[in-house]
């Protein structure tokens, strides 16, 4: 597959995942505001922005609805949902011949939905509905991708983009949330504490899945264990790293002229770290540093994907 095409598919997928993540976190933040107790709107907003990786241009200005609208519709802001969807579509447009017509139509419909002149009005009247419509659109796109595309290299690059973005975003989210998780609260605050914990799980669509594994008994160490180390839940970091590993293996098998040793090594180490560490060990050590390492390793994986598949030097390629 052309390197440029792989690059576009990878970024198309990353941007979609990013849009979905932003939408979910915003939805959770907005619904937490409905309850009177707990943190102020301002501090919640700061936490949201931090969990999104502190993008510029989202400084608190006192009006939550206006801020939310900016985060959804301001196409000039690189963190906004619209910006991500535009970028995903632009990447798709550049590889229009590689993706299926169904995929393209699905993405195009989502794009036109966001750019409809009624979209901001609808969001103002019911933000939660508007946000779930976006998530629905992205889910439909993923479903159509899985059912209409050859599961070859292109599809693997789409998966690679999705899971790398997800691993990175989840690690960032946990890094921001974990100090608060462990703060002891008194009895009156208990209900609010519970809502906050559910909120964190919902940011990763993990609440119901968590209950199936641990029952509705929420505790900070279990939440962290679930989102970090669960082997079977698609938003847990361990699961996403496993998917990254499988995607790279598959790309390697279908191509297979040059072996990306360093890339396999970095992914393998990360995979082993998540597979063979217990939550007790993580909490006994420096949790923030642990999460930070995951983020760094994700960035390293990204760089190596570029070095092996996209921006390799001609000399190295001719030598083989």
């Amino acid at each position: 597959m052309l390197s440029r095409v792989a690059d576009s598919l990878y970024w198309m997928s990353r941007y979609l995942e990013r849009a979905e993540n932003t939408v979910r976190q915003l939805d959770v933040t907005m619904s937490l505001m409905l309850d009177p107790g707990g943190a102020s709107a301002e501090s919640r907003w700061h936490r949201l922005v931090a969990a999104l990786g502190k993008p510029a241009g989202l400084e608190w200005e006192g009006d939550l609805e206006a801020m939310a609208e900016r985060l959804i519709f301001d196409s000039a802001n690189h963190a906004s949902v619209t910006y991500c969807l535009n970028a995903a579509r632009e990447n798709a447009r550049q590889v229009r011949e590689e993706i299926s017509t169904e995929q393209w139509q699905r993405l195009n419909r989502l794009y036109h939905q966001m750019h409809s002149p009624h979209a901001p009005t609808q969001a103002r009247s019911n933000i939660s509905d508007s946000l779930s419509a976006v998530v629905d659109g992205i889910h439909l796109f993923k479903g159509v991708s899985d059912t209409t595309m050859i599961h070859g290299q292109g599809w693997q690059f789409i998966r690679l983009g999705r899971y790398l973005e997800r691993a990175y975003a989840t690690a960032t989210l946990l890094e921001v949330y974990q100090p608060e998780l462990f703060i002891e609260t008194d009895r009156e605050q208990f209900g609010y504490q519970y809502l906050e914990q559910v909120g964190l799980l919902r940011c990763c669509t993990a609440f119901e899945a968590y209950c199936q594994v641990y029952t509705a008994d929420l505790s900070p160490d279990r939440i962290l264990e679930f989102l970090l180390l669960n082997r079977d839940f698609p938003h847990a970091i361990r699961y996403t790293v496993e998917c990254i590993r499988l995607a790279v293996d598959s790309i390697q098998r279908t191509g297979g002229r040059r072996s990306p040793d360093e890339l396999t090594a970095v992914i393998g180490r990360l995979h082993a770290m998540l597979g063979y560490t217990t939550i007790g060990e993580i909490l006994a050590g420096d949790t923030a540093a642990f999460l930070h390492t995951i983020r760094e390793q994700c960035m390293r994986v990204h760089e190596l994907i570029y070095r092996y598949y996209v921006h390799y030097s001609i000399q190295s390629a001719l030598a083989i």
Binding site: R4, V95, R96, E97, N108, I251, G255, I314, A317, L318
Partner: protein, 486 residues
């Protein structure tokens, strides 16, 4: 309207004007032409709401499919759907037979002409075509002198523009021998039409066009360099900002070949490679949709980043086929166009089956004087332009525009030609809730590889603005499906 037509047909037409211009659907007396009758009756029977629903569903289908084109020179809203008219344009088997023979003759002669001009130049020595006309053409490529191309095919993909005059006769307006576009609209129009009017389509017995991508692939394969039995064929696009980008992706997908940009290609030892996730892969045939000028910065325009450095040397070494060949724009020059009937007679010993439009060469003193005196009646075109750019339409121009063109003609007469303002044919279009006639042309697509292939039909372009003569999509034109009948 004559007796025997249902009353609904008459209400459908309302006050549909008929004048000197040939109407595709109706005879001068107002009767619907025999092959259009079934269409007229179907339309008349459709309730108005149903007709509007069909139109909307067709438009929505274009939008969600992302069948759009880019308009240059405007910042916002650069991506638009290509306006589409619901009513098909019908061509009878007899009319098509003549068009097909005429186009095969023309393309064959033009290929022989290019081969001759870049080798012995017999036609110039015999003074059939003036030497200075060829050598002053900005699309003449001296790099092509004495360079053989596979099967001697210079022009493999053509989309000629035909018009139909008052007499009902088809004439060739332009040959478009460089990178003609629009074939994807022909194919998608057909798909939308089949969905919109399935029964009507079935009852008409329309000849299929859907195999065009397969024919194009076979054509490209037949032009592969020798010793490359399983050629790697790619389509070279200038990229996502090109107005025809949708078409490039569409064709690549339909043919199952890679769509490459200049930055995907590298040359080494006169071999062209593309960068893949699996290292470098050799490229054998390039169907380019990039103009000569932008193809190789080492040979042509040095400031272009759209092409690939070293491409021309690989081409010269015979390691890669690029089609259409470089330098074909020469035979596309609007001044050389005037000589095409003579070119056909010279190489094939036949008269042109499809005539030319009368053309005044401004390098000729007498013709120039005539043109300058009649600018308000004529159409003036820059010889090297296409897409409706660089054009003066006399009857629709202002005195200032005419002065400006007169000045430019005096300064550089070789750069312009003039033609009479043609009263070319009109076809009914659905405008609002009734039918109105609009000017149409016809662009069939011709493929020349080991043999000539023309899919029956083409793109009928429509000047959607009332009274307008400009059909180019960049200037407010739209399109219709074209049905060639069995």
């Amino acid at each position: 309207m004559s007796a025997g037509h249902p009353a609904e047909v008459e209400t459908l037409f309302g006050d549909y004007p008929l004048d000197r211009a040939f109407d595709e659907m109706r005879e001068p007396g107002g009767e619907v032409r025999p092959h259009y009758r079934a269409l007229a009756e179907t339309l008349a029977r459709l309730p108005q709401e149903e007709l509007q629903r069909c139109k909307q569903s067709a438009e929505l289908s274009f939008l969600t499919q992302g069948i759009t084109f880019t308009v240059y020179g405007r910042e916002e809203g650069t991506e638009r759907i290509f306006p589409y008219d619901l009513l098909p344009r019908l061509v009878t088997a007899q009319e098509w037979d003549r068009i097909e023979r005429g186009l095969i003759q023309r393309i064959t002669a033009l290929n022989l002409f290019l081969r001759d001009v870049y080798f012995e130049a017999k036609i110039l020595n015999d003074r059939v075509v003036p030497r200075e006309l060829v050598y002053s053409c900005k699309h003449y490529r001296r790099q092509m002198r004495g360079l053989s191309v596979p099967r001697n095919v210079y022009i493999a993909v053509v989309g000629s523009d035909l018009l139909r005059l008052n007499s009902g006769e088809f004439v060739v307006l332009e040959d478009n021998l460089r990178v003609p576009s629009g074939v994807s609209y022909m194919l998608t129009n057909r798909r939308v039409m089949k969905r919109t009017f399935p029964q009507l389509f079935h009852s008409y017995g329309v000849r299929p066009i859907e195999h065009y991508p397969q024919l194009l692939l076979a054509t490209l394969r037949s032009l592969a360099p020798e010793g490359r039995p399983e050629p790697n064929i790619v389509l070279l696009t200038p990229g996502v900002f090109n107005s025809a980008y949708f078409e490039h992706t569409y064709l690549a997908r339909q043919m199952g070949i890679d769509l490459v940009e200049g930055r995907d290609l590298v040359t080494h030892d006169n071999i062209v490679y593309m960068r893949t996730t699996d290292g470098l892969k050799r490229v054998d045939v390039i169907y380019r949709r990039v103009d000569d000028d932008f193809s190789d910065p080492l040979i042509f325009r040095a400031d272009s980043a759209l092409g690939c450095s070293g491409l021309f040397n690989a081409y010269r070494a015979g390691n890669v086929t690029v089609t259409n060949a470089f330098g074909t724009g020469l035979a596309d020059d609007k001044a050389l166009y005037a000589y095409v009937p003579r070119i056909i007679r010279y190489y094939l010993g036949e008269d042109a089956i499809l005539p030319n439009v009368e053309t005044f060469l401004l390098t000729e003193e007498r013709e120039r004087r005539h043109v300058l005196a009649n600018l308000d009646k004529l159409v003036v075109k820059a010889v090297g332009e296409s897409g409706g750019y660089g054009m003066l339409i006399g009857p629709h121009s202002t005195a200032r525009q005419r002065e400006e063109f007169a000045r430019q003609i005096e300064a550089n007469p070789r750069n312009y030609i003039a033609q009479p303002t043609l009263d070319f044919s009109r076809a009914p279009c659905l405008i609002g809730d009734h039918l109105e006639p609009r000017h149409v042309d016809l662009r069939p697509y011709i493929l020349f590889g080991d043999k000539v292939n023309i899919v029956p039909g083409g793109l009928t372009r429509v000047a959607l603005e009332k009274g307008s003569l400009v059909v180019n999509s960049s200037q407010g034109g739209g399109s219709k499906d074209t049905w060639v009948l069995e």
